[in-house]
Amino acid sequence: MSSLPAEEIERIVAGALTGDRAAESRMLEALRPGVLAVLRFGAFHRWIDQEDLTQETLHIVVERVRARTIDDPRKVFAFAAATARNLALNAARKMLRQQTVVDSELVDELAQNMEMEQGELSDSDDRQLAHAVAALLDELPTERDRQLLIRFYLDGTDKQQLCRDLGLSPKHFDRVLMRARTRLRTIIERRAPHLAFLPKATSILLPLAMSFTFWVRHFGF
């Protein structure tokens, strides 16, 4: 997972927009984690091959950058996100069309099965995660914060209602959530680091392979 700051990524993309081929390769590496995240967190994540679509998205982005029809790095980010989303939608549609199933209940069942097959957490991971969250809740300094997290995440009580009930300002509410997330990350990194951000070998290898492909294609080794 790349951890380049946003300003650095913007600078790299700006370089690629000038036609700098080295910057273009770096752009592919820099955009990849974000594009992958859009696909992973999107509504169709369980219907698509995220790695494949990330590669396809980056192909389209690089073609567009080379065509010089975009002049602002921020428009490249928006274009990449929209492209990823549209490709995911099309892939999901295609997948459903290929199923000769018209019964909506069966489609639901199919979706469920796929979700189980592609479930990102094993039972052991799920248990570790539950342990980490239970530890986080135990560590919270006040009963009010505990109640806030449980009612917000488990009961689905909305923020305004919770702020009213618990006598909190919206800013304080956001701070509790932010601290909880940060603390959970620390606990997870200590107890089950693999749950912090499920890295895949392909996350590292693919950008390298793609950069190499573009490099070869351009300079014709």
Binding site: M1, V35, R127
Partner: protein, 253 residues
């Protein structure tokens, strides 16, 4: 995009939460995802938000969460004040009714209160519904507008127990019986068949004792006569599904 660049951490937290909950509008989501492409570190925040949601749900499912006692709040205090005031008024009413000689006009409100109280107790109707919908063209629940209860308590038997890994099996690994509700939370919708309009939605609830659900529809007599679907929906952090559908008929006679 520009507007997101200078957001505070609080604003970022709020957006991440809304994004994971699926509460962003189409344009907000587009803007957020462009930001995600530009700031991969934001992906870690989104991931952690997802973990937090799933972790809390999983801990609750496993019975590891101690549900905190409600914190006394301003709202609670207001309720107490109202309750105390109501008690004082009621006591005064009772005292007056004793002191005022018989034959005098009754204290207004006393009779009404008692009648209302009895009616409330008498007019709650409990209905247990099996997980297989009734057949033969007969509604699962019928309510007459002329004799409608004040509350209709519906207890659908629809919670399916699964193994800890979510698998639907008769026997889990190690030979234990499935004990985990398939969904973390359940809710009920009342949908009028004519026009497919949502007439009522319950709050979400966690099954009590693993399988018991109880939804209270208040004043069923206030709904229009006609046929309705009672739809029970299960929710987990990343999936929701209709688990049962029943037929409610509100008749004019």
């Amino acid at each position: 995009m520009k507007s997101l660049d200078h957001n505070s951490f609080e604003e970022q937290t709020r957006l991440v939460s809304r994004y994971v909950a699926g509460d962003l509008s189409r344009s907000e989501r587009g803007e957020f995802e462009a930001w995600l492409v530009a700031s991969p570190e934001l992906a870690a925040e989104v991931e952690m938000e997802r973990r937090l949601r799933r972790g809390i749900a999983s801990a609750a499912r496993r019975g590891w969460l101690k549900r905190p006692a409600p914190v006394e709040t301003n709202r609670d205090q207001r309720r107490w004040r109202i309750a105390i005031a109501a008690s004082v008024v009621l006591s005064l009413g009772v005292v007056l009714s004793i002191l005022v000689p018989r034959g005098e006009p009754a204290v207004p409100g006393k009779g009404l209160f008692a009648a209302a109280s009895e009616r409330r107790v008498a007019s709650t109707v409990n209905v247990r519904l099996g997980n297989v919908r009734g057949t033969g063209g007969v509604p699962d629940v019928s309510v007459s507008l002329t004799d409608a209860p004040s509350e209709l308590v519906i207890e659908p038997d629809v919670v399916v127990l699964t193994c800890p890994n979510g698998a639907l099996e008769l026997e889990c690994a190690g030979g234990s019986a499935p004990q985990t509700p398939q969904f973390v939370e359940y809710e009920m919708d009342l949908v009028k068949r004519h026009g497919e309009t949502l007439a009522w939605r319950s709050s979400r609830q966690i099954p009590v004792g693993r399988t018991q659900l109880s939804f209270t529809l208040r004043q069923p007599g206030s709904y229009d006569a006609g046929d309705y679907d009672l739809i029970v929906r299960g929710h987990s952090p990343d999936h929701s599904e209709v688990v049962a559908r029943f037929w409610l008929r509100v008749s004019a006679e």
